[in-house]
């Protein structure tokens, strides 16, 4: 005899459970957590380098950086004096909540104002995994093509902020900035969009202000 058991369960319910625990912990300790996602080579590590360089004195930051292999990114980011930890996934194409939990284990979140998570370079798989973060930030470089938001709608749909990177290269590439923004808005009308160049520094003030507003809001809850 065949029976059908009705189940209403998220496939990634275990990941969701850990992500919710992390989210509660981040809220309790008032730490701002952002998850940076992009294709490989869009400039996540470069943007983080510039960010750590520009962080005002007194802001307590830390970085978890994910890659399939090597600790190169952690080495690049450790130069700025903030705690950096590499998550080497050994083949897995995304970070999941368990990896975050495991790598935070001996860090006291009360000592942090902001935690940057740099995901594995990939526009598909990271979109399925909640890490308990406050915001997913998607980077799109001007050398990639305007249609990327349409090709990878899932991740652009989930982003709170879209950072267009490498705008200093605009004179040399046939990239239609307005069309890229229109495509991004057609997937996600609510996301903010910031145009940046880590080379010239254009747009970085706006990027830092976006972060600072979140850190200040969370710090206000703490006091």
């Amino acid at each position: 005899m065949t029976d059908v058991i009705q189940v209403q369960k998220k496939v990634l319910s275990e990941n969701a459970r850990i992500a919710n625990e992390l989210r509660e912990k981040f809220a309790r300790t008032c730490v701002t957590v952002v998850n940076l996602i992009s294709a490989p080579g869009s400039g996540k590590t470069r943007l983080l380098e510039r960010t750590l360089e520009l962080l005002p004195d007194g802001v307590r930051a830390a970085v978890l950086t994910g890659d399939i292999q090597t600790e190169k990114d952690a080495e690049r980011l450790a130069r700025f004096g903030y705690p950096v930890r590499q998550i080497t996934t050994g083949g897995t194409c995304h970070l999941d909540a368990t990896m975050i939990e495991r790598h935070l284990i001996d860090w006291d979140l009360d000592d942090l104002d902001i935690l940057f998570i740099e995901n594995v370079g990939n526009l598909v798989c990271p979109s399925s995994y909640d890490l308990g973060e406050e915001a997913k930030i998607v980077l799109l470089s001007v050398t990639e093509g305007e249609e990327k938001p349409l090709k990878y709608p899932s991740i652009f749909f989930k982003a709170k902020l879209i950072v267009l990177t490498k705008t200093d290269l605009l004179p040399y590439v046939p990239f239609d900035l307005e069309l890229a923004k229109l495509n991004a808005r057609s997937i996600n009308a609510d996301a903010e969009i910031i145009e940046t160049s880590c080379q010239t520094g254009d747009g970085l003030t706006q990027w830092m202000s976006w972060l600072e507003a979140r850190v200040l809001r969370n710090a206000a809850v703490r006091s």
Binding site: T2, V11, T92, S128, R185, S186, A189
Partner: protein, 115 residues
């Protein structure tokens, strides 16, 4: 390509459900995938079948239901399905809308029989 780990999570859920039902075995599992879930149905089926093959779960079958993205217009309340790329309301032309379906990645049912 994370469909293999998604398939593993589905199989873990099936194992959990049948563990509490002695004398029964699972014959099928139903999964609902939204257009925004970033899951390729063929890759998921391939990964699922690869795990099940030659295991104690064989011949467990996966039944995939795909869900389009649905929007509700925030200006005129019209609900419409979309191809994911265009969110313009067909009734009033507004771009302001809320996503009401398309993000699903759910297990919906497990079919069991006497072992």
């Amino acid at each position: 390509m994370h469909e293999l780990s998604i398939a593993s999570s589905i199989i873990e859920t099936v194992r959990g459900e049948i563990a509490s039902r002695p004398g029964r075995r699972a014959t099928a599992v139903g999964v609902r995938i939204g257009a925004l879930a970033a899951i390729d149905a063929d890759a998921l089926r391939f990964g699922f079948d690869a795990i099940v093959k030659d295991s104690d779960l064989e011949p467990l079958r996966i039944d995939i239901e795909q869900i389009d993205r649905r929007q509700r217009c925030l200006d005129c309340s019209t609900e419409f399905e979309t191809d994911r790329y265009t969110l313009t309301c067909p009734a009033c032309g507004s771009l302001r809308g809320a996503c009401i379906a398309g993000e699903e990645l759910d297990i919906t049912f497990i079919e069991v029989e006497e072992a």
